[in-house]
């Protein structure tokens, strides 16, 4: 009896650490400690469940030993792989990793729902659950499965394992609507009408939900994956909460709801930074109209290329330089060389700052993480509004692998799909050097007027390679 009380206390402490941890995570100074606080709370909840949960004493003798063995093996395997994966992953692949872990959490919830449904139809030694609990089980199965396959696909897209166009069917959104309607119908049928056949229909629901997760993410472009991951993240939170109600487990409920709510807010914040609505992202109509509008803008305008030595001179003899890093810098793993250039210029008396667009990289804040990895001091990073003030006063802006976030069309072309999105107004600077692989358009698939701007000079090549050459040029001056 007292063990149950102890468990209650541990769950209470864990729930509080989740709240406090999340709160601390939202301030730069306390963020790391916050994560650790939540981790300790999680440890307490899991240990408490292992030692004190009433169901732990269900069996005696060999059966108990066998199940404990199974349990600890599972914990060891999951823990080891998780730890290794987390420490092996490159910082640029961080979004994929988060997506992967999120999907596994969703998968965990879905499997749990299947097992619970099975217990229900086995009958033996288990009270029949109420209608409400049944709906929750099916809800957990649905959202968990969607989160699982959806996150796996998001992972594959971010890893460039699949092409967007390869997995989109004709009439894709109509098919999705049919699937969704089928899922909702099945949930209703199993709860109220299926009777003894509920288990079979439950498995069919499981299958369709897995397919739906895949289909749900399939038509959404790679650039929108952060938003998708955030949405799926809150889905998994909701399933954890629903499972918490099924098991009458408060720590699951509180943890799940917190993530569900905070995940939704985070999604909205991300969408705001891109000036788009969630519906717009999820229905995935981006790019289509833009390509047509872009056609006339490009045409026969000319671009100016700049040589490495000219670029080096320009940088070295200016007073202030602003670097605008984008995803191109991240994929080329060029943040360290970027920092090298920064130091070199600083030692020659040039003031170097960084302008970070909220959606630079592939997740909000992703670029900050990458630059932090390269030891770029925190105070040198400026966010959108401050950055635009600094840019207007700077001599040279270097755009490294960024495109859509510096597109003037967002300000002055109402027909552009990104019109209204806050952008870094780099063209306000005296000179702009754009480092780019080629003239290909950015992730949003739209043309960028900036490249044809009178103050813009292009420097083509791989970001890492070009930056390295630039560093050498500046050194030899």
């Amino acid at each position: 009896m007292s063990a149950t009380y102890l468990l209650d206390l541990l769950y209470l402490i864990a729930s509080l650490t989740f709240v406090v941890g999340l709160k601390m995570l939202s301030h730069p100074d306390t963020a790391r400690r916050g994560n650790q606080v939540a981790a300790v709370g999680m440890g307490l909840a899991v240990m408490g469940t292992l030692l004190f949960h009433p169901s732990a004493d269900r069996d005696l003798g060999d059966v108990r030993t066998f199940k404990l063995l199974l349990l600890y093996a599972a914990l060891a395997i999951g823990g080891m792989i998780g730890w290794l994966a987390a420490y092996r992953v490159k910082m640029t692949s961080m979004p994929q990793m988060v997506s992967l872990f999120n999907g596994l959490g969703g998968g965990c919830a879905a499997l749990l729902a299947v097992a619970e449904l099975k217990l229900q139809y086995d009958g033996a030694g288990h009270d029949p659950i109420s209608t409400g609990a049944m709906v929750l089980v099916l809800f957990t199965m649905f959202f968990g499965s969607v989160s699982f396959t959806g996150s796996m696909l998001a992972y594959a897209k971010l890893e460039d394992l699949v092409k967007d166009s390869a997995i989109t069917l004709p009439r894709h959104s109509a098919i999705n609507m049919v699937l969704l309607a089928g899922i909702l119908g099945l949930i209703g049928y199993i709860t109220w009408g299926a009777g003894e056949n509920g288990m079979m229909w439950g498995l069919i629901l499981f299958g369709i939900a897995l397919v739906y997760g895949f289909m749900f993410v399939a038509p959404i472009g790679g650039a929108d994956m952060p938003v998708v991951i955030s949405v799926l993240n809150s889905f998994t939170g909701l399933t954890a909460a629903a499972a918490g109600i099924i098991y009458d487990n408060l720590v699951m409920l509180v943890g799940g709801i917190l993530v569900g709510a905070s995940g939704s807010i985070l999604t909205i914040l991300m969408c705001k930074a891109m000036n788009r609505s969630i519906m717009n992202v999820l229905v995935g109509s981006f790019g289509g109209g833009g390509a047509a509008a872009a056609g006339k803008a490009a045409g026969d305008q000319t671009i100016k290329e700049v040589s490495l030595s000219d670029a080096a001179v320009l940088l070295n003899y200016s007073g202030s330089v602003v670097i605008v890093p984008g995803y191109g810098l991240a994929v080329a793993q060029a943040q360290k060389i970027c920092k090298e250039l920064d130091e070199l210029l600083e030692s020659n008396g040039v003031e170097v700052k960084y302008a970070i667009h909220p959606v630079a990289g592939r997740m909000p804040g992703h670029m900050n993480v990458l630059l932090a990895e390269a030891d770029v001091p925190y105070p040198k990073l400026y966010d959108l509004e401050e950055a635009n003030e600094i840019i207007a006063k700077s001599d040279v802006v270097i755009v490294v692998g960024a495109n859509d976030v510096v597109n003037p069309a967002a300000k002055d072309d109402p027909s552009s799909p990104i019109y209204g999105m806050p952008v870094l107004e780099v063209w306000e600077a005296k000179n702009v050097i754009v480092m780019k692989r080629s003239m290909k358009s950015g992730y949003a698939g739209i043309e960028n007027e900036l490249f044809f701007h009178a103050r813009t000079k292009m420097l083509f090549g791989d970001a890492k390679d070009t930056l390295q050459k630039l560093v050498n040029e500046v050194k030899s001056l």
């Binding site: 999340l22 899991v46 995940g263």
Partner: protein
């Protein structure tokens, strides 16, 4: 309607808890600098790994001759542990870098 009100009445505390947790979640997150969005999402991702607790209970509840449930529970625990351990570790790695250059 009858059903709804009786449900409401029977689960009143739960519904209060639900409502307050939602508000708390929103309140805690709404003032976050963009710098921390990725670590925050990652940290929240680790926290929903608490579903692992449910997976452990499933495994405890499974009968010894019910292989399907044992397998389901086993895989669920592996997934859940991956979510928890990987989630917290990856977040810590991200935030560690923030610390270093702040000194």
């Amino acid at each position: 309607m009858e059903v709804f009100f009786s449900f409401l009445h029977e689960n009143l505390l739960l519904i209060y808890l639900l409502a307050f947790s939602i508000l708390l979640g929103i309140e805690v997150i709404s003032k976050v600098p963009a710098v921390l969005h990725t670590p925050l999402m990652s940290g929240a991702n680790a926290i929903h790994g608490v579903v692992l607790v449910g997976a452990i209970i499933v495994l405890f509840n499974a009968r010894a001759d019910d292989y399907l449930s044992l397998v389901l529970g086993f895989v669920a625990v592996v997934f859940g542990t991956l979510n928890v351990v990987g989630g917290f570790a990856v977040t810590d790695r991200m935030l560690e870098m923030f610390k270093k250059k702040k000194k």
